[in-house]
């Protein structure tokens, strides 16, 4: 970290430096995070985009702006330790309800997960708006139907979820390894939950019909 390091300088006639500059400019100008393929479409197919990204990430690591990878897509963002300077009250994201936060966490840690499974963990039904809000925020998406009786629709998180919460991949979800080791992320046994707590069983049934007309 404290070793002297030469800045990339096109004057040094290093072809790699030109490539790095091109990738840097592309990411800087892009309206959305870009995958390696996206970048290659702009800078050219014969370019080692990954090497350029690694160089840039290293170059920016200690700067006020950093290069980050989120779900396989790259973008520049301000360094997190400078949040106190930049945090703006008016831009505060709309506060998510408690049900929304828990539902989001359950989807992220269990995905793909059906509505009935989310409800089994929370012990209450999800109101219609909760999933809508998460999908509207671009954090949650429908992820196909499960091939079990009733073919319930499942939900999963999106790349935008990873980008918003600063996660490179889902493996970076806080504490996910500990939770898995403790068996707390095992598939929810809906049948057993129904037997254990009678009222959840009634919920689960309602759920399926709910899924049908959803």
């Amino acid at each position: 970290m404290t070793e002297p390091r030469l800045p990339l300088d096109p004057a040094a006639l290093d072809p790699a430096a030109d490539v790095t500059r091109a990738v840097e400019a592309t990411l800087f100008a892009a309206a959305e995070p870009l995958s390696v393929q996206d970048i290659a479409a702009y800078v050219g197919p014969d370019i080692d985009v990954k090497a350029a990204l690694a160089t840039l990430a290293d170059l920016y690591a200690t700067r006020g702006v950093t290069l980050v990878e989120r779900g396989g897509k790259w973008h520049f963002q301000t360094a997190s330790d400078l949040a106190h300077i930049l945090r703006r009250e008016r831009e505060e994201t709309r506060k998510l309800s408690r049900a929304g936060i828990e539902t989001l966490a359950i989807i992220a840690y269990h995905e793909p997960v059906s509505r009935a499974e989310i409800e089994a963990i929370r012990g209450v039904q999800i109101s219609k708006g909760t999933l809508d809000v998460l999908m509207e925020a671009g954090w949650v998406r429908p992820a196909g139907r499960r091939e079990t009786p009733g073919r319930p629709l499942t939900f999963a998180t999106t790349p935008a979820f990873l980008a918003h919460f600063g996660l490179e991949t889902r493996r970076d979800l806080p504490g996910i390894d500990d939770l898995r080791a403790a068996g707390l992320l095992d598939p929810v046994d809906l049948a057993f939950e129904a037997m254990e707590l009678p009222e959840t069983g009634a919920e689960a049934e309602e759920l399926e019909s709910d899924d049908d007309h959803a």
Binding site: F28, A83, D178
Partner: protein, 255 residues
């Protein structure tokens, strides 16, 4: 793990002491949420909570709520009944006939509370991360990358010269060339019919006057021109024509 579980960013009802549990039931998202709040008030790792103590806390809360004439949702009462059953099961001498055993039910309940608690903590930790647009920022108004559509026009040499051929043909002044065809002209037919009829007194069918030929086109032409010839000769009063009905054989003789 135990330290992590303490994190709680939610505005949970501040109901960890029983004096303040008499707030209305709407503060909790269902009986499981209330149970978890009570379990957390034991201030130990959830894996070490006393289920019996928890059941007592829950039942006490429900009783207080009823004393205050608060509307209690049915699911809270169902849970209370189930917990009362669980409590009696745990306290009474073991009955091996009962499946699953009260101990197992208690363990399952504990697991459910742990699961919910874990997700609640996970949600809080997610919300506490450096979030894009709140703590860290992307460029608000990037220039954007542009895709420029460029047409690659396609045409080959054959199409080019074929097109020129079409233009040339279209541009030429129209010139109609009639092919030489084997026909019997009207003049020839008149001469031929008047010569042949001159000798015939009997009614003779018109086909007898036609020249012999293997060319069907010529035979048609000869019939047509010979028919016209008979009409012309009849008009001149040189011959007479007879036909029984439309399309019936046409007979000719000298007038």
């Amino acid at each position: 793990m135990a330290e992590q579980l303490v994190i709680d960013a939610f505005e949970l009802p501040k109901a960890v002491d029983e004096d303040r549990l008499t707030v209305d039931v709407g503060s909790w998202e269902g009986p499981l949420d209330l149970l978890l709040t009570l379990a957390r008030s034991q201030k130990v790792d959830l894996r070490e909570i006393s289920i019996l103590a928890l059941v007592d806390q829950y039942l006490a809360f429900i009783n207080d709520a009823k004393a205050l004439k608060l509307e209690l949702a049915a699911d809270y009462l169902v849970m209370a009944a189930w917990l009362a059953y669980l409590k009696s099961g745990l306290l009474l001498p073991k009955d091996p006939e009962i499946e699953p055993s009260p101990e197992e039910l208690a363990m399952r309940l504990q697991l459910r509370l742990e699961r919910l608690n874990a997700m609640r903590d996970a949600g809080a930790r997610l919300m506490g991360r450096d979030r894009l647009g709140r703590d860290v920022f992307a460029r608000p108004a990037p220039e954007g990358l542009r895709v420029v559509r460029k047409s690659l026009w396609d045409a080959n040499l054959f199409e080019l010269i074929q097109a020129y051929g079409h233009v040339k043909v279209r541009a030429e002044p129209p010139l109609h060339i009639v092919h030489q065809r084997n026909v019997l002209t009207l003049e020839e037919a008149i001469a031929r019919v008047s010569r042949l009829v001159g000798a015939a007194i009997e009614w003779t069918v018109i086909q007898r006057f036609l020249p012999e030929s293997d060319d069907p086109q010529f035979r048609k032409s000869a019939l047509a021109s010979s028919f016209l010839a008979t009409l012309e000769l009849a008009r001149q009063g040189k011959i007479a024509l007879r036909q029984e009905s439309a399309f019936a054989p046409l007979y000719v003789r000298a007038a």
